[in-house]
Structures are given as structure tokens and as C-alpha cells.
């Protein structure tokens, strides 16, 4: 990447299933205030542009972007909303800097999903209205189908997926932001209620509220603002076919392509030896294994074995989701990807407290937009 861009501020609320006392604007204000304090910047004069990531139906507003500026310190300033995951927003923020128009950009993503009483119905509303929606039912069946095809095609097993849950929920015990930290064994997951077989209750990340904000700056500014700038050296995004009928079931092509784009920008030829740790999407347990294979951090059909050999544990060669991921922290909807970026930044800064990884230099954050999408993004961060 020619233009050097750094993360100079990072902030987040805790992730909580219930935030009844705080409205969505206050949640965003809290995340933003923490990030601006961390950066030592006043948003009313030091930040040139603001990007937030949101989707009207999650929020419960038509034209949600109108409701964004005040709680971010962005009133009467250049502001835009990206209808995508937090890493899509990060990519837009980077490109605004690369264009030369601005020097410092704040990017925000959040979930106030506890305000939505009919989450499953909104997810079902994301299906093709004519070919898929009339079949009705709980929309997560698509993840059950995909898990079935992935396990059948790759040779990874249900027990290995349960191992992902055990690892991530246990990792979350060391993350003060996480909502679902718990000591859970493979047997507990295997014995949890069948939902969308082979997916069981504990294979599925629970929803959670929270707001995450990163402040980015071009190199010349970054060095003045931060003692510990974390450099964004590559990013990418991709969408596969939205047609359920046109997909290669069991393969995360969007993640392959998004990672390829980010690796190319970062000059990474051999991700397995060049990336020290990663935060990858695990909204369903199998997705972590599928995404690791897609982004080239595990061989085809090998992610489950690698997991069982301890490679992805916090003390392994390639720690994955040391934060606890979505399984341990909760499903943050559009903030999921930005949370992964936040964790990579904290690890590279050496600020990950009890879950700090040793000697990390470069990490990957990877996102997926959830059922029923085939869309995602990726970003590379370096110290």
C-alpha cells in the first residue's frame, strides 16, 4: 500500500446482551468518546470525516444515516453511512485518506440488536422474496445447510466445530469486553440442543449490543497523534452470489477473494508463515474453520486437525480469536468485523491485558455479514 495509514485511536463499549438503560445514540457516544480520548483528539476540530456502518432494518429507522452525526461529534461535518460490516467501513475510511481529501477519519460500527424484537424475521426478510422466503421457517437453516456441506466436503468434523466453541468461549473469560466467556467442553457443545443439524445451540453465537470506534490517520499525522500507531497495510472486500441456488455450498469464496485482495496490497505471499495471529468470523462454529481454510491460514480440510493439535489456541503457533470471537464476545452484527480489527490493534499495541499474545507483529481481521449473505471483508494490521 503506497499511502501509509495508521490506527491512532481505538475504543469500545463492553459487549452486553442487554443495554436497556442506554439508547443506541448513547452507546455510540460511549464507543466514540473512548476512541477519541485514546487518540487524544477532539472530534469537533481534529477529525475530518466520519464513517458509520449500519443497516436500516437492524436499527429500526428509515434513512438511518440521518440519525448518526450528533453522537459521533460529526454534526455539520462530512459524514457517511456504509450499509455493510465494520471492515467495509474501515476500507472506505482508508480510501478517503488515500484519495487525499482528508487526513483523519473516524469509523464506527455498532449493534443495538436488543432493540429489535423480531430479529429472525428481519434476517428472513434478507432472503429472495420469491424463491426462498415463501418456504419461511427460522432463517438460520441456511447455516445448517452450509455446515452440513462444509463438513461433508472438507472432512472436518462436528467435534472439531465444538472444539472451536470451547476454545473461543474459554478465551473470552480473559476478555473484559466479552459477554459469553464460559468454560465449555466439546461434550457440552455436542450435547447441546439440536437446532439446524448439524448445528447445535452452542455452535451459534448469541446476539449482543456494543459500539466499536477506530480513528485512522495518514502517516504524517499519525506519528504526531499516537505513540503506538498500528499500520493498516492491506484491506479487501468481496461478495459472492446472493443466490442460494448459485453457490458453491461449503466454500467461502467471498473470504478467499477478500483475503487475496488484502494480501496483495500488504505484499503477503505466504499467509501461513507471514501472519502471526488472526481474528476471523465465527458467528457459527464451523465458520471459523471454513474461513481459516478460505484465507489460507489452514490447508483444505485441515483446519479441524490444526485446531485439535492446539495450533489455534492462545498458546499455539497461530492464535485465532484470542478475543473470544463472536462465540465468546457475542454476535455484534455489523460491528463484528470492527471488533475483530479492534482486537488485532489491542494485541499489536500490547494492550490485550490477560489475553495478550507474545511477540505479535502482524495480524489479520476477517469478517462475514452473516446469514444469508456471501459477503465479507479482510484487513491486515502491523506494528
Amino acid at each position: 500500500m503506497e499511502e501509509k495509514i495508521a490506527v491512532v485511536g481505538a475504543g469500545s463499549t463492553k459487549f452486553r446482551p442487554d443495554t436497556s438503560e442506554q439508547n443506541w445514540k448513547e452507546l455510540m457516544f460511549e464507543g466514540a468518546s473512548k476512541a477519541y480520548t485514546d487518540a487524544g483528539l477532539n472530534p469537533r476540530k481534529d477529525i475530518d470525516s466520519f464513517v458509520t456502518c449500519a443497516e436500516d432494518y437492524w436499527e429500526g429507522f428509515s434513512i438511518y444515516d440521518e440519525f448518526v452525526p450528533d453522537q459521533l461529534g460529526a454534526a455539520m461535518r462530512p459524514t457517511c453511512t456504509v450499509c455493510g460490516d465494520g471492515l467495509h467501513g474501515l476500507a472506505i475510511a482508508c480510501m478517503q485518506i488515500m484519495s487525499g481529501m482528508v487526513d483523519v477519519v473516524a469509523v464506527e460500527a455498532h449493534s443495538k440488536i436488543s432493540d429489535l424484537n423480531t430479529y429472525n424475521d428481519v434476517v428472513l426478510f434478507a432472503f429472495d422474496p420469491i424463491y426462498n422466503r415463501p418456504l419461511a421457517g427460522h432463517p438460520y437453516y441456511v447455516a445448517g445447510m452450509e455446515m452440513n456441506a462444509f463438513l461433508n466436503g472438507s472432512g472436518n468434523t462436528e467435534e472439531q466445530c465444538a472444539g472451536v466453541v470451547s476454545k473461543n468461549m474459554t478465551n473470552a473469560l480473559k476478555n473484559p469486553l466479552a459477554a459469553y466467556g464460559k468454560r465449555v467442553g466439546v461434550g457440552d457443545v455436542m450435547g447441546s440442543e439440536p437446532m439446524f443439524s448439524p448445528a447445535k445451540k452452542l455452535d451459534i453465537a448469541e446476539l449482543v449490543d456494543g459500539s466499536v470506534v477506530l480513528v485512522l490517520a495518514r502517516a504524517e499525522k499519525a506519528k504526531d497523534i499516537a505513540d503506538n500507531p498500528i499500520w493498516i497495510t492491506g484491506f479487501g472486500w468481496n461478495s459472492g452470489t446472493p443466490w442460494l441456488e448459485g453457490r458453491t455450498w461449503g466454500r467461502a469464496s467471498y473470504a478467499e477473494e477478500a483475503a487475496k485482495m488484502a494480501y496483495k496490497m500488504a505484499g503477503i505471499a505466504e499467509p501461513r508463515s507471514e501472519i502471526g495471529f488472526a481474528e476471523v468470523d465465527d458467528k457459527f462454529s464451523y465458520k471459523e474453520l471454513m474461513h481459516l481454510e478460505a484465507v489460507g491460514l489452514a490447508g483444505r480440510g485441515q483446519a479441524g486437525n490444526d485446531l485439535e493439535n492446539g495450533r489455534f489456541h492462545a498458546d499455539g503457533d497461530l492464535p485465532i480469536n484470542a478475543s473470544g470471537g463472536s462465540l465468546g464476545c457475542g454476535n455484534l452484527i455489523e460491528a463484528s468485523g470492527l471488533h475483530r480489527a479492534l482486537e488485532v490493534v489491542l494485541q499489536l499495541r500490547g494492550q490485550a491485558e490477560g489475553r495478550q499474545l507474545n511477540d505479535v507483529e502482524r495480524g489479520l481481521a476477517q469478517s462475514w455479514r452473516g446469514v444469508p449473505t456471501a459477503s465479507g471483508a479482510a484487513a491486515i494490521f502491523e506494528r
Binding site: A149, S197, W243, G246
Partner: protein, 141 residues
């Protein structure tokens, strides 16, 4: 302590247009009990459901092809809960069936004593059809 909330809901109704390709698909299904797809000769892809453009090369497609009611299970799941997360008395199986001779297929209910990927199944049609994906009752061996 309970916090103040305002309950909101949204009246939003749509009439989704089936479109040029969808119109023909649903008419064939309703009137003739047949499945049809469109083919891209350049990419040698047959789309089911039919599309009037090729996703791969972006060509406009006008080559129509009758395709069989038979296909193969590619992915499936047994669903144990309803959309309100309540446990179903009777779990059901839903899956993706690749229609023979095509690169597409349909997502639908599958009824069989034991569903496996790779299993050959056939669309079971309703007698009274209205031009909807529910004109197919389910797929079965």
C-alpha cells in the same frame, strides 16, 4: 428496575415482481408442471432458477431449456425450531437440490426416511398450482 421504552412497528408491504425470467419459470411450473432454466452458451452454464443475464460473463440470456424435476441433494439440514425459537414437534429437512444437467437448483423441503447428500430426489408437485415456489410440495426420492 424497568426502563422506559416505546414500542414501534413498521407497516411495509411489497409486491415483488417475478420479472422476465421468473414469469416464465412460474408459468411453466403452474401450467405445465415443468421446470425451466436459461442457458449461457458462452459459459455453458444453465441457470435454475432462470436468469435473463449470465452472472459470469454478463451476457443477456434468451436460450431457454426444459430441465428435469430430478436432482441431487447437495446440502441439507434438519430444522428443530420455528422462527420464534420454539422447539418444533416434528423437525423437518430443508436442503439444496442441484437439478440434473444444470449448475443451479432449488432450496426446498426434502422428505425421505433418511436424507443424505448425493441422494437422488424428484420434485413432488401440487395438483392445484398457483405459480409459486410452493407449487412444489417437496423433493422426495
Amino acid at each position: 428496575m424497568s426502563f422506559t421504552h416505546w414500542h414501534g412497528d413498521m407497516e411495509a408491504q411489497y409486491i415483488y415482481t417475478a420479472g422476465i425470467a421468473g414469469e416464465r419459470f412460474f408459468r411453466e411450473l403452474k401450467d405445465n408442471g415443468k421446470l425451466v432454466g436459461t442457458r449461457c452458451p458462452k459459459c455453458d452454464i444453465t441457470y435454475v432458477p432462470p436468469r435473463m443475464y449470465c452472472e459470469k460473463c454478463f451476457a443477456e440470456l434468451d436460450e431457454w431449456k426444459d430441465v428435469p424435476l430430478e436432482g441431487e441433494v447437495v446440502a441439507h439440514t434438519e430444522v428443530h425450531v420455528d422462527i420464534e425459537d420454539n422447539k418444533l414437534a416434528e423437525p423437518f429437512v430443508i436442503g439444496f437440490v442441484r437439478i440434473d444437467g444444470t449448475q443451479g437448483g432449488l432450496v426446498h423441503y426434502i422428505k425421505a426416511p433418511e436424507v443424505r447428500n448425493g441422494m437422488k430426489v424428484k420434485a413432488v408437485l401440487k395438483d392445484d398450482r398457483v405459480g409459486s415456489i410452493l407449487d412444489i410440495e417437496h423433493f422426495a426420492p
